[in-house]
Symmetry: C2
Subunit: 407 residues, 2 copies
């Protein structure tokens, strides 16, 4: 409820940074001047940085956690709708000192809450009656929660074959859920947006641009890391469309611009090897690429189409675009769980990316792996259950011995 | 890793507060002097309060969230094992100003993490190779996560007919899961504890005493509320065995004892109407009661046996013991979700309790409802899924109109 605190001044084209557009309305179909039929360029939000004082970053924690993203209101788009105490997630050190930024600790248990705090505020800002979102999971549920919080409607174009737990999750927030085949999601979203005036909070363009205000919310991950440990050597991010990757990079770039730090961490995109449009774009030297996406259980980050934002973060930070197999994802998911963090398979991509680097290539200095969501979101979760055992000491002991537990 | 910071001095009998026991070992079977064959009295932890300075509560948020419960180490049992950034959950205001303390924002997405941070540290403190816990859900998973974090083993005696999602949750942390019928859980737990030396972190006694260090972790809920809004008029708590209810009350009582506040909130126990041993004990004027527990979907707080802790919190605070039906729970679950908080059915008991009070009986002043866990934990979650729709504008529009969305 602090829309007036925002220092946002306008939208800047990422296709040509000399081109600016007014702040309103949010350009949900990318930059109209530089995009082509084959390639869409996003816009990003500009701020009156000269008015952003260092006091904003002065304390380790700042305002109480309940304030959520409002703590950082000056460097966010106008937050005219209420939050849910999003963000302020902990950095949990693993045994070897690698930090895990545990984003499952958000209101709908994923990083998407940072994005939707901003996009739902944008929907209210343009006077839309609600939002529409195409999503296979976390994004849709988060949009539904923030829309409910703001008193707006939410329509989710979910995937065919949606896991039942996700269905319950979406319906709880009062969303209208329309499960449709993948290829029908975007055309329907465009029609629902055009004909009913619902504000689109996911992508509508040929290569990914998404909502221009969304990645701004992810900048707060960088602000929080900085407030706690300063600038790390590298940040690894599970990567679908690259919005979180870009947001974290932009946050650190802003801190440097404000004179609060001298460096920006190397940003590593971590995509499933089954697809990997960002890695393809980096390899080909293009702003965004399309790939065929094979089967993977990392459904939250399995994308055939990439966007320019993530490519820019990797290039400008001197980072890298890593591909990880489902087997590597499972190993990292287990490594995290055996230290107390049950992450979604897709969320383990960051640690899998780090672990995939040859020893000599590991970044020198503190490393942060962003873990985006919880193991409850996996499709396999809830599909098999243990059988009841014979409730005798003999049977219990037999099983405990088999598990290596002896008296 | 701050065991040395603790000001804990010993264990005090709740059956006779003039009786004290050494701090170690934790009396996991209650007070040996005052308990009888029909009624077990817990012990609680005592501190050198004269050394607890007000600086501990000086700032709104204190140390960074990653520090977890370590922030409050002086007034907790020794925390000799690492945390996961537990606690520091937000107070989310509902539209009518009621605050929801959203405990689904903990490492395993329930309030139990505050308890298990303390009980697993106790297990390590006595040199046990691991912990054993009887649990129908949140407690077991949380114990498994903290045991994994501490490098200890964990055995969970789960319920027969355990939901598959819970099974995945427990196994992820490497726990040995033994699903057994309800009546076999406690005898087996006792045997596993006695014969294998695993430290029990759930109850072993005839009326509930649980682990003496566990409720100490819940005190931090009170500390956090106090740091943010001072002392509320009342706190409503979903109540099974009453450990959280007691912990929150004790935390506020300590703040008063330290001279930091003048009052303690009225504490309201909110039990499922299908059971309600705490309400029975209060009604009968006894320290703890047994009831028959009928069917309820609020499985996390459906208990046939109560304990003295919660009774004491209700009596000494001038609060009340409320009973809520499954229908009332569902209404409050929906009220929360439609404001962006998807709580487990059991977790909605606090709001259901508040809403059940006649208008004239509502507490005057700020009210906090503790919401203990996430909707993902409900047994019904994940059992029904929406069907795929015909992916045409006409079909989508028909469904959107039916949901009240028109162009």
């Amino acid at each position: 409820m602090t829309a007036g605190d925002s220092l946002a001044t306008g939208q800047r084209s990422m296709g040509d940074p000399t081109l600016t557009h007014p702040l309103w309305p949010p350009l949900t179909r990318g930059c109209p001047r530089t995009s082509t039929a084959e390639l869409a360029y996003p816009v990003e939000v500009d701020y009156a940085y000269e008015h952003a004082g260092p006091a904003l970053f002065a304390t380790a924690e700042g305002a109480a956690r309940s304030a959520g993203l409002d703590r950082w209101a000056p460097l966010l788009p106008p937050l005219g709708t209420p939050g849910l105490g999003e963000g302020h997630t902990p950095l949990v050190p693993l045994a070897d000192g690698v930090y895990v930024k545990d984003e499952s600790r958000n209101p709908t248990w994923s990083h998407k809450d940072r994005l939707n705090r901003c996009t739902v505020a944008a929907a209210a800002g343009v006077g839309a009656p609600g939002v529409v979102v195409a999503s296979s999971g976390n994004h849709g549920a988060s949009a539904a929660a923030y829309a409910a919080r703001a008193g707006l409607r939410c329509v989710v174009l979910g995937p065919a074959g949606m896991p039942a737990a996700l269905d319950a999750f979406l319906h709880a927030y009062g969303a209208v859920v329309l499960p449709v085949p993948q290829e029908a999601r975007w055309p329907l979203m465009r029609q629902i947006s055009d004909r009913l005036g619902l504000h689109p909070v996911s992508n509508l363009t040929v290569t990914h641009t998404g909502h221009p205000f969304g990645p701004e919310g992810y900048k707060t991950i960088a602000y929080e890391i900085f407030a706690e440990i300063g600038v790390p050597a590298a940040v690894f991010v599970p990567t679908g469309y690259g919005e979180c990757l870009f947001g974290v990079w932009k946050g650190f770039a802003e801190l440097r611009r404000l004179g609060l730090s001298g460096t920006v961490p190397r940003m590593f995109a971590c995509e499933p090897a089954a697809g990997g449009p960002l890695a393809a774009a980096v390899r080909q030297g293009v702003p965004a690429a399309r790939v065929s996406c094979g089967p993977t259980d990392a459904y939250s980050i399995a994308c055939p189409v990439g966007g320019y934002r993530g490519v820019r973060a990797v290039r400008e930070s001197g980072g890298g675009a890593l591909l990880v197999t489902d087997r590597q994802l499972r190993e990292s998911q287990q490594e995290l769980a055996r230290q107390g963090i049950w992450a979604e398979l897709s969320s383990a991509a960051s640690l899998a990316g780090l672990r995939s680097l040859p020893a000599g290539d590991a970044p020198e200095g503190p490393v942060v792996c962003v873990s985006t969501s919880s193991g409850f979101k996996d499709r396999a979760t809830g599909t098999t259950a243990s059988e009841v055992i014979e409730p005798t000491w003999e049977e219990a002991y037999r099983r405990l011995r088999a598990a290596g537990l002896e008296g």
